[in-house]
């Protein structure tokens, strides 16, 4: 599906981090938590390809979707110049989203940095049933927003003093051993997700991760977004993050690369 989205609001929520809400009558209705949109960010800074962003919020009633992104290179530099009322072209919703189960009573969410984006919808969905673990480099974001939905948040920072010092994965094994979540959702740096997956494997907890890979088409046609996987039904070792992903079960991903 393709759609011209109208920017409804665009605000800075952290150092180089922005949240952009867009009016969407089509994508918003089809989108599922964990899916992404492929945005034509504008050519001001010379970006040629589209850029993929997870949906951080999907509001079917208000016909609105949002993304949270960090300004990194040419594409996001152009993106952050978009103003209310501007239009932006999107393909989406794309990829496989998270497995959500209304009967789960106790789930965990582990996010690192911008990995928080696709997890926001999960937190809204499970509300008080979610234990949220977030790791940041220095400055936490969206904490107030998350607190609207759940009280159980643990924040870790690598430097600075706006949270516990250290890595977000420290201590998880112990906590989960005591009170295992029915499922863990994770998104963030590869090394972090690898650690989360390994803890879950040891404790035999279900776990989904959202992977990132550089993309071309975003729709499954070009095979550039490969992630090494071992899905049983697949003939190829590589799977397309844009089509079979970005969300995978922990046991599907081949981590050591």
């Amino acid at each position: 599906m393709e759609e011209w989205l109208r920017v409804k609001s665009h605000r800075q929520i952290g150092n180089k981090i922005f949240c952009m809400a867009m009016e969407s009558s089509k994508i918003s209705q089809m989108a599922h938590s964990g899916q992404f949109i492929h945005l034509l960010c504008g050519k001001e800074y010379g970006a040629l390809l589209r850029r993929p962003f997870s949906l951080s919020s999907i509001d079917k009633k208000k016909q609105e979707i949002s993304i949270i992104y960090r300004v990194q290179g040419k594409g996001t530099q152009s993106l952050c110049r978009m103003e209310e009322g501007d239009k932006i072209h999107a393909l989406g919703p794309l990829g496989q989203g998270f497995f959500l189960n209304p009967t789960y009573k106790n789930i965990a969410v582990v996010g690192g940095g911008m990995g928080i984006a696709p997890l926001m919808e999960i937190i809204k969905y499970y509300g008080g049933r979610a234990r949220v673990y977030l790791g940041f480099g220095e400055q936490p974001i969206e904490i107030e927003e998350i607190k609207k939905y759940t009280g159980e948040i643990s924040i870790t920072v690598e430097k600075g003093n706006l949270g516990k010092k250290g890595f977000v994965t420290a201590g998880l094994a112990e906590q989960w051993k005591e009170k295992p979540p029915e499922i863990v959702y994770s998104c963030g740096p590869r090394s972090m997700m690898k650690e989360v997956a390994s803890i879950c494997e040891k404790l035999d907890i279900s776990c989904q991760v959202s992977m990132e890979e550089r993309m071309g088409c975003g729709v499954g046609a070009c095979l550039v977004c490969s992630c090494k996987t071992k899905k049983k039904d697949q003939k190829n070792l590589y799977s397309r993050v844009c089509k079979e992903g970005p969300v995978y079960w922990r046991e599907e991903v081949i981590w050591d690369e």
Binding site: L49, L91, R214, C217, A221, K235, E257
Partner: protein, 303 residues
Amino acid sequence: MNNLDLGVKIGQLELKNPLITASGTFGFGKEYGQYYDIHSLGAMTTKGITLQPREGNPPPRIVETSAGIINSVGLENPGINAFIREEIPHLQKLKVPVMINISGNKIEDYALLAQKLGKYDIDALEVNVSCPNVKQGGMNFGTQPQSVYEITKTVRENWDKTLIIKLTPNVTNIGEIALAAQEAKADALSLINTVVAMDIDIHRQRAVLGNRIGGLSGPAILPIALAMVYQVAQQVDIPLIGMGGILSGEDALKFLLAGASAVAIGTANFINPLSPLNILEEIEDYMRTNGYQSLREIIGQLK
């Protein structure tokens, strides 16, 4: 209104318009069908197929450069048998001409691929002698007139429908290679494939691509492709399919004026899935504005 004649002939194929989607950028024709009716294309080309399945190169497989992208997919594909089993049924049903892009490690591979595909209702073979992402074979074939001649001849002996040879730009003299393919009875030539290229991440001090080296496509290479199409058009008598960086109707018209009978759209699909249709419309506008009835009045008409 639309009484323009956009038809072109490539070998035995009559295309209703000159817009073709380029190999490797359009999967096996399923994905973009969600965005528009692919029957509005002149033809489509499938992702390159080899005899054996190939897992392709390690990621990352793409990087953006100034006005271009480098890819190093490395011919990931399920192999000819799985392709026949899983893709041919759907491809045979399409009412748009389908060109199957094939690659081999050895000359005999090409013969075998042509034989296997010969049993199905497929319109054309596009023989890739030019993939820069494969170590054995691949590009090495495409750089020698002698081996291009032999591959073409072998496939010709095993394939009586339309046969297109796809040339690499990474050569000293593309004209002599084009002539070798023509001599061995190719019906048409596709040019160009991607240009050997590389990018480096100065912070990690590593090549960006898992495979280090890849192939450059997109607007950056358009002027290179155009020069090659123009030069080859002076030398051969068979039709050319021009490609390399085409994003707009204007870009496509440059190739047609330079002597291409049709154009293929690769990287542009990634930017806008509707590119082929938009480009087609822009060509029609140009024809109307300038009073042309038939595309043949444009092809090769550079003054």
